[in-house]
Amino acid sequence: MSRIINNPDFVVEDMLKGYVKAHANLLAGTDNPRVLKYKNAPVEGKVGIVTGGGSGHKPAFIGYIGKNMCDAVAVGEIFSSPAAQAFFQAMKEADSGKGVACLYGNYAGDNMNVRMAVKMAKKEGILVKTVVANDDAASAPPEEAQRRRGVAGEVLMWKIAGAKAAMGAGLDEVIAAAQKAINNTRSVGIGTRPCTIPAVGHPNFTIEEGMMEVGIGHHGEPGVSVQPLKTADEIAKQMLEILLPDLPFHTGDEVVVLLSGLGATPVMEQYIVYNKVAEILDRKEIKVHRAYVGNYFTSLEMMGVTLTVMRLDEELKELIDMPAESVGLTQF
């Protein structure tokens, strides 16, 4: 482990201090050192968008704070849910009186802490509704979709909900849009090398050299199979073979594609995979309305990629096209 850190127990604290200094034009700290907010939050007359999750997934989660995106974000230890108090504080920072949509990923810790935070918010008269992302198609069979993890599809969920809220929609409409976004989104990951939590000092799972794990989770959760490493083209094909039948996506669909590196895979390789993804979708006459390629949702220095596809309707199309400004996603 040749990491560039100070005290391994305080990497999150140290990172947050640097983050606020670097992006002071866009975001700010709060009374709770584990909560960052959009500099203009709460935005008058707008439903607040809140998320949160463990650290180590840069630019998620704090990278999606910004204009027409998230208003406040709770930050946890590496790969560990933020505390209930942090989620609660984020809800307070985001609420302009129109209520708060808390949009997060399906993990045991996050579920518990958000549930407690919603109770705390209710006591203070803040109305919070939630959507739990479960886009990882490889994490459980379709009939157990409620067990599936939330992964990079969360970025698209935040984009959609952030845009909906910015248009002046009420809380129920924002929640409905976020739920629609995640219901129409599927993701899958492939890992080729594990990652190490600095305070632990060694990887807590292994991927043998020359092998790849299909369906791996954002924290190294085991996937559906371990296979010899294939070419980028074959990987693209294999990931689509998992995703497309799961929703299912059909000929004639319009989609958004998000291809993210897991941290250590060069962006160059991500485009090599994307090339084949686009080719296969084109052949199936599935139209890519918009594509995002880059490190959108990582897992420290894990090597590998995740592929996310979201099916669009008119509403989702309008919302995904709206301008946004955040560290992780900016579009004009």
């Binding site: 505390a83 108090q85 632990v200 807590n204 924290h219």
Partner: protein
């Protein structure tokens, strides 16, 4: 057989030193089927609590309240809320009581168990801390019902907690991150069940010292 709430601060101190001493052990167990950070996060929370109660004249209930709010505010993860509500329930059930007897401690345990069950949604056999906690609380209650004294009931509690903890080794995880491993989670102790055993053991032993 009773102890004074104000002397009960020793129980919280014992919890803190126990977690600190087992930081690496808990992370090692967690690393086999989890992230490997259970000991690190627990140690961070309990050490922070230690600093917050140091030099203050807290009784047991107040110190448990500090421990609870530290876990809920600063730790997060799954263990923050689970142990947060656990200690909060114990603090609430003993608040305002000067003398803690066997019955009051039984109420503390029962309240703590109910809170953890409510928030965690796990059942016995899911390979979680409940597999330590449920048999421990049951053994303690039946010991009292059978007329055993406080000290002996705590012996029963420790034994049942240990048996329950060890039973998680052969279980397949059905909730939380390890559940994604399915059969691969068999053959390893559950980290939460382990920290729960260590804490119940530390608490019971500290009380035995106080009431002896």
């Amino acid at each position: 057989m009773t102890f004074k709430n104000k002397d009960g601060i020793a129980i919280v101190e014992s919890l803190i030193t126990t977690i600190q001493a087992n930081r690496d052990y808990l992370s090692e167990i967690d690393g086999k089927i989890g992230d490997g950070d259970h000991g690190i996060n627990m140690n961070k929370g309990f050490t922070l609590c230690g600093a917050r109660i140091k030099g203050r004249e807290y009784n047991m209930s107040e110190a448990l309240q500090v421990l609870s709010s530290t876990l809920l505010t600063d730790i997060g993860g799954s263990m923050g809320p689970l142990y947060g509500v656990f200690f909060e329930a114990m603090a609430d059930a003993s608040e305002g009581k000067e003398e803690i007897d066997a019955a009051i401690f039984g109420e503390m345990l029962q309240a703590a168990l109910e809170e953890v069950q409510e928030i965690g949604n796990a059942k016995r056999g899911d390979k979680t801390l409940l597999d330590t906690l449920i048999p421990a609380v049951e053994a303690y209650s039946s010991a009292l019902a059978e007329g055993m004294d406080f000290y002996t009931a705590l012996v029963e509690l420790k034994e049942a907690a240990r048996t329950g903890w060890c039973s998680t080794e052969e279980m397949v995880a059905r909730i939380g991150r390890a559940s994604r491993l399915g059969e691969r989670s068999r053959g390893v102790l559950d980290a939460g069940a382990t920290s729960c055993y260590l804490m119940l053991h530390a608490m019971a032993s500290a009380i035995q010292q106080l009431i002896r």
